[in-house]
């Protein structure tokens, strides 16, 4: 039974109950056709697009770094920092992420190819391609399989039993946002599991860890040593500018990615649900497990077109500039089969995702059943659940769920 089906049994609607196996096959057929229509028309226009983005990003980076040589002057610091932040966002998202997906391999340009590209990120491209392209894109939103989902450290679904340690997850999520590239590197390495394993760590882990350290050393040397030194008297302001730009990029990337799979309305799946999964069922999981950000063309470019997370997850290797073009067809398909196409503006999606993080950091039902009047008693219960044993937790949890139902019914 999938998590979706289980939810249906406890009163929520199962979003795919109305689909027959034939429907699912037909949906896959239509998606294949959409994919093929893009492949058939890939060409000069697309190549021009990615080259222009790369050229713009490099000019912007170069210009910003030059301006930052005089970062002692606040206007220069401000302009340079904004420029570098935008440049780093473009480099990671519209350029790096998408090239590493192989979206541009068809151009046969050895300089813009998933096997040769390296990006401005703590994780070496090779390791990221494995954890992201193979694991995340294959096991999208499958609890326990998809590391992107809560990065292995968070509670992402009501079905996961609550533990007092989860209270910290808004803080972890915030820290993960600020130091996102290092968080990504850590989960690409499966650092937690490997640290726990102690002496049994594999040679593969050791090799990859060395590669990550080397990569981080180069990145840190560039942003916090070389460019500050080149700035002479502006050493410290430049260092701060680079740190700011990295942080802006980290928080932005984290927000966009959270919006992709975390907002309310996005489904998660149990490990068992994907046993023997067919390609059409995989398509369906991608459709239900992703969410879009609506907005302007500039917003799409700045999110690396991950604002079209649904289209990206259906077709991870199609050129990113095409997602916007096929989105209306995909959306129409959702509507025809009565499926929820989850798309909202960025602030709403970010709020929704954070709300879910906070809600799931607390016992099921706690947030919904709490109001100004019962706050003291709710806090007391939370304290008891946090300090008490499993028995206390189970008993209080049952009461919370009951009250939540009553609150929702009222």
């Amino acid at each position: 039974m999938t998590t979706i089906q289980k939810k249906a049994t406890i009163g929520q609607t199962n979003p795919i109950a109305h689909l027959s196996p034939e429907d699912i096959e037909l949906i896959a057929k239509e998606l294949d056709d959409i994919r093929q229509s893009v492949i058939d028309t890939r060409g000069e226009r697309d190549a021009r697009y990615i080259r222009r983005v790369i050229r713009t990003q490099r000019q912007l980076e170069l210009g910003s770094r030059v301006v930052l040589l005089a970062s002692l002057f606040p206007p220069a610091w401000f302009v340079g920092t904004v420029g570098l932040s935008v440049s780093k966002i473009l480099e990671n998202m519209e350029i790096g992420h998408n090239i590493l997906h192989g979206q541009w391999d068809w151009m046969r340009d050895p300089k813009i190819h998933s096997t040769t590209w390296e990006w401005d990120h703590a994780t070496p491209a090779d390791q990221w391609k494995h954890s992201h392209n193979e694991l995340h894109h294959t096991y999208t939103n499958v609890i326990g399989k998809d590391n992107d989902l809560g990065y292995g450290i968070m509670r992402v679904d009501e079905d996961q039993p609550w533990h007092p340690a989860h209270l910290g997850q808004p803080l972890w999520n915030f820290l993960n946002a600020v130091f996102f590239e290092y968080g990504v590197a850590a989960y690409d390495l499966e650092l937690r599991g490997n640290l726990r394993r102690g002496k049994q760590r594999t040679e593969k882990f050791r090799r990859e860890a060395r590669a990550v350290v080397r990569k981080i050393r180069k990145q840190v040397t560039k942003d916090y040593v070389v460019h500050p030194l080149l700035s002479g008297p502006s050493f410290l302001p430049t260092m701060l500018a680079n740190f700011t730009a990295n942080t802006v990029r980290n928080v932005w990337a984290h927000s966009v990615i959270m919006c992709g799979h975390f907002p309310e309305g996005v489904e998660t799946f149990e490990k068992r649900s994907i046993d023997g999964e067919t390609k059409p069922e995989w398509y369906l999981r991608q459709m239900l497990g992703s969410a879009n950000i609506s907005g302007s063309k500039l917003m799409h470019i700045m999110t690396g077109n991950l604002s079209h997370q649904i289209e990206h997850h259906l077709f991870p290797d199609l050129p990113s500039n095409r997602y916007r073009e096929i989105a209306p067809k995909v959306k129409a398909l959702f509507e025809r089969y009565d499926l929820a196409y989850c798309a909202r503006p960025l602030p709403q999606q970010v709020y929704s995702a954070w709300h879910k993080v906070v809600r799931l950091s607390l016992p099921n039902g706690w947030l919904d059943s709490t109001n100004a009047r019962n706050l003291p008693i709710q806090l007391k219960r939370l304290y008891q659940m946090t300090t008490g044993g499993p028995k206390v937790r189970r008993a209080l949890q049952a009461r919370l769920v009951q009250e939540q139902r009553r609150a929702l019914a009222a």
Partner: protein, 404 residues
């Protein structure tokens, strides 16, 4: 056609050279060229540290793609129509262009519909003070690259280049002796020959020059074309003949009928005293080779395309390090099919000459499309590290494991 893929000349010199390039390639792997000392090297290291994970060249390329030290590129400066379906491109090559020997070709990488394609074209320019080079391209009706170059290339287009290469060049004249040559050219097979003739006899405003260095050549050109208007460089050939530099025999299929080699002795009475240089389609070259072999006459040929002799059986080709499997049929080279599947492989001439595309075959069998020869690799039995195979002229003959 002459998408101008030059094939293995039948001359034995070339075979020797191929062997040595494989050796060079293997030896070259361990040598390093970057300087490690001095302020230049230190500055280079700082620049690298400042631009990682990119390299300084990535930024310099934004402003000066033709500078010293850049990957070799060229900018199209003008396109001149030659016939209804052929054009000459004048190209300003990058600063590191090392020049060429007349008759040689240059490999050109051009993005057609966004996809990087490489083809070889003969260099057709004569001596030029401005250092520009030119190629002449005939549009093949169903071609990919040549119609693009002839009809859609615009001034300012940036092309990727390799240094000039090729063995189809003039022999060095022996002191005091006359070098007697016969050029047999068919269609755009004229292009390497015009490159040689223009360098021997430069064309200027005051007519064709006959410098002293060219005095020892005695040249007959037998030019074959479907019809007169299809003949590229016919005006040049006629001017050369008018100046007395060459003897021109033009044969048009529609006018004279298809050339029969039995007539060769009548067309060129002193054939026995000449070295023949031939460039054109495979049929003509094969016939010439048979004709000359029978008489023991010297022949140097330049072919434009690999002709498939024996197809392989096909199979799954696994690129070990990239972790990619490609289903390959037995009729086309592994290189081509892997590229179609989005795999990036080293490539060079695409006709089995340059050995840029060699990859170690760890396990499996491949068949040489030109000769039908089978190459197999069995772990533990054949050389450890894999048998080096050229992916551009080998097709899969069963499942293959390549170290890439």
């Amino acid at each position: 056609m002459f998408a101008a893929n030059k094939n293995l000349p039948t001359d034995s010199r070339v075979a020797v050279r191929n062997a040595s390039s494989l050796e060079d390639m293997l030896n070259g792997m361990s040598t390093s060229i970057a300087p490690t000392r001095g302020w230049r090297a230190r500055a280079a290291r700082v620049a690298e540290a400042a631009t990682t994970p990119l390299v300084p060249a990535d930024f310099l390329d934004l402003f000066a793609p033709l500078r010293h030290g850049a990957d070799l590129r060229g900018r199209v400066e003008s396109v001149h129509p030659e016939t209804a379906d052929a054009a000459t491109l004048v190209i300003r090559p990058g600063a590191d262009w090392a020049g060429h020997v007349p008759g040689q070709y240059v490999r050109i990488g051009v993005d057609v519909d966004g996809v990087r394609c490489w083809r070889a074209y003969s260099l057709t320019h004569g001596p030029r003070a401005d250092g520009r080079i030119s190629i002449t391209v005939k549009a093949v009706p169903d071609g990919t690259v040549s119609p693009y170059l002839v009809r859609r290339t615009q001034r300012g287009t940036l092309l990727h280049l390799e240094q000039a290469d090729g063995e189809f060049v003039l022999p060095t004249p022996r002191r005091g002796e006359t070098t007697r040559l016969l050029f047999v050219t068919a269609g755009s097979g004229i292009t390497p020959v015009i490159g040689m003739l223009r360098n021997l006899y430069p064309s200027t405003d005051s007519g064709v020059l006959r410098p002293a260095r060219s005095a020892s050549y005695d040249i007959v050109v037998l030019h074959v074309a479907p019809s007169e208007p299809d003949s590229i460089f016919l005006r040049d050939l006629r001017a050369l003949e008018a100046a007395g530099a060459i003897r021109l025999v033009a044969r048009y299929d529609d006018e004279h009928g298809v050339l029969d080699l039995a007539d060769l002795d009548a067309i060129v009475p002193d054939l026995a005293g000449r070295t023949t240089f031939a460039c054109g389609p495979a049929g003509l070259l094969d016939a010439l080779a048979a004709h000359h072999e029978e008489r023991g006459l010297p022949l140097l040929t330049e072919q434009f395309r690999v002709s498939t002799l024996v197809a392989g059986e096909g199979g799954t080709v696994t690129f070990e390090r990239q972790g990619v499997d490609v289903e390959c049929d037995g009729a086309r080279p592994i290189l081509e099919q892997a590229e179609d599947a989005g795999v990036l492989l080293p490539s060079g001439c695409r006709m089995g000459i340059c050995y840029t595309c060699v990859l170690p075959l760890r396990e499996g069998a491949v068949r040489d499309l030109r000769t039908g020869e089978l190459t197999t690799a069995v772990p533990g039995e054949t050389v450890s590290g894999g048998v080096p195979v050229q992916t551009c002229i080998n097709a899969a003959a069963g499942p293959c494991l390549l170290d890439q």
